[in-house]
């Protein structure tokens, strides 16, 4: 680890004051489960680390008629226990998928959304867009992207909560150096595919802070997450999908279906949503939605199998959202 200055402010304003405008100069520390290992591997070398865990306004879950507001440093185990989130099984299922008690206790929702990719070329110091994408394309791409991989970015976004939050229509409260900088951003606009090494996988500037996640009410919205996981533990899924569906009179009247771990961002499967629209959810329609979700997949050399996994994840997320058995182990 490079030596760094450290501060633990207790209010948002102080956090913002301590953040530098230059990418990489300062890093925000929350649970530390990703940043600290990145610093150990010299993949993050900030001059200053700003610990936001002492800012009490950033923590906790509250609900009102407008929905649910979650502070960015709320830990995953607290979310799992929060009755305010009982209408959002897609979120709880995604957290349960991270089957490490320690990671759930220490990891925060904000950190979960901002964690860096698991791409092994990135983690081994070759860069996120290694050799303009050729290292992945010609190397070992078994866990890499099957969508959105035309450019140099071929990694998959690491967040496991993002598909659920995107499907549920979450907004993010983001603050910056001045009061005018405060915005409520639709979460799907938060993520982006970096075009060069200094860009992150989200649109936050170095001096901005994600403070809260705001969920619209989910009553009447059936929702679920399905992850295809190789095994238990904190290991990341091979592919995942979250579905949020409004069902009226047995027919789907609105659907958001979002794939995870298949693209450099959470991947909205519009054609899957279109395919299920106007139909009841059953084995056939769910399977058709899964097939529609992957119709335009562009797998790399080693990850053709992920196309099927993504389709199955969509199918099973829909079935699970509608209260059916998935046909798999769970």
């Amino acid at each position: 680890m490079k030596a760094f200055d450290y501060a633990a402010p207790t209010c948002e304003a102080d956090v913002l004051e301590l953040l530098s405008g230059e990418p990489g100069e300062t890093e925000i520390l929350a649970g530390g489960t990703d940043l600290v290992p990145l610093m150990k591997k010299m993949l993050a070398t900030p001059d200053r680390v700003v610990n936001i865990m002492e800012v009490s306004s950033l923590r906790g879950v509250s609900a009102d008629s407008q929905g649910v507001t979650i502070g960015a440093t709320t830990t995953l185990d607290d979310l799992l226990a929060a009755p305010e989130l009982d209408d959002y099984p897609a979120i709880k299922q995604a957290i349960e998928g991270i089957s490490s008690m320690q990671l759930q206790a220490q990891g925060t929702i904000g950190g979960e959304l901002c964690q860096r990719p698991r791409c092994w070329y990135f983690r081994n110091g070759y860069g996120l867009l290694a050799d303009r994408g050729r290292l992945v394309a010609e190397g070992d791409s078994r866990y890499h992207a099957i969508f959105g991989n035309e450019g140099p970015a071929k990694f998959v976004h690491a967040s496991r909560l993002a598909p659920a939050l995107v499907a549920l229509g979450a907004k993010l409260r983001i603050v910056g150096p001045t009061e005018d900088d405060e915005v409520a951003l639709s979460i799907e606009e938060f993520f982006r595919t970096p075009r060069h090494e200094s860009q992150r996988e989200h649109v936050l500037s170095a001096n901005q802070l994600l403070t809260h996640i705001i969920l619209p009410p989910a009553s009447g919205v059936a929702n679920a997450t399905y992850e295809v996981r190789h095994g238990e533990g904190p290991d990341y899924p091979l592919a995942a999908a979250a579905a949020a569906v409004r069902i009226d009179g047995g027919l789907v009247t609105g659907a958001n279906i979002v794939l995870g771990h298949v693209a450099p961002t959470p991947w909205i499967a519009l054609r899957a949503a279109e395919s299920i629209f106007g139909w009841p959810i059953n084995e056939q329609t769910a399977r058709a939605a899964g097939e529609a979700a992957v119709a335009d997949a562009t797998p790399l050399k080693d990850n053709g199998y992920k196309v099927q996994l993504a389709a199955v994840a969509v199918e099973r997320a829909l079935l699970r959202a509608a209260g059916f058995e998935t046909g798999g182990f769970e």
Partner: protein, 211 residues
């Protein structure tokens, strides 16, 4: 199974009724407006000042470990694991991976099981830190003795972390079933393969002691 009837696509303009538009990469292009730089913010007279601890040299901090307050000398980059092992000689928490993956350095901080190797020591000031050593001594914790009765150890390097994890898990789930144990204790790695015995040990504690 393959030749099911493909549902017809509704002819109404669906995409307008979907909650979302567009696909991830395309939709997320909007950059946020960035405000003035740090220098301007610093001039804001209302801003409260937070002490910045220098990364050069070491600092004296106080950590509360196993109920005792300790004065230790740390760098800002020292992890809690470094301090426990090298300053307090509490070597029960083990360095196995650079991150959370192994669970071998599990300690309980303010009642929660966390990894000492991903926590900065400076961030642990004022917190209650409990290590595996607090489960030993003259009257060892029931989890530790259950590990012994059920031989839930071989080389033993993962064992202290596992003992702490089981303690924390059972504190939260004192009546855990076998299925819950199999689901709940996946944060720890054992290479010798003691999992079957760990399950038995945890069940023994749930059932209230030695079989």
């Amino acid at each position: 199974m393959q030749d099911h009837e493909h549902p017809q696509r509704p002819d109404s303009g669906f995409s307008r009724r979907a909650f979302l538009r567009g696909s991830g990469a395309a939709a997320a292009a909007t950059a946020l407006a960035t405000g003035p730089g740090l220098a301007d913010a610093a001039q804001n007279q209302n801003a409260q000042k937070t002490a910045v601890v220098s990364g050069k040299g070491t600092q004296q901090i106080k950590l509360t470990v196993n109920g005792k307050s300790h004065q230790v000398e740390v760098e800002t980059r020292s992890t809690l694991l470094d301090v426990l092992r090298y300053q307090l000689d509490l070597t029960g928490a083990k360095p196995v991976s650079i991150d959370e993956t192994s669970g071998a350095c599990t300690v309980i901080v303010d009642g929660k099981p966390v990894s000492a190797n991903t926590l900065l020591a400076v961030a642990c000031v004022g917190k209650r830190i409990q290590t595996v050593e607090s489960l030993g001594g003259e009257r060892p914790d029931a989890v530790a003795t259950a590990f012994v009765h059920n031989d839930a150890m071989q080389c033993g390097f993962c064992t202290p972390g596992f003992v702490v994890a089981v303690r924390a898990f059972l504190d939260k789930n004192p009546r855990a079933t076998e299925a819950e144990i199999r689901k709940g204790l996946n944060g720890n790695i054992c290479r010798c393969g003691t999992y079957a015995n760990v399950i038995e040990a945890a069940l023994e504690v749930v059932k209230g002691g030695k079989k």
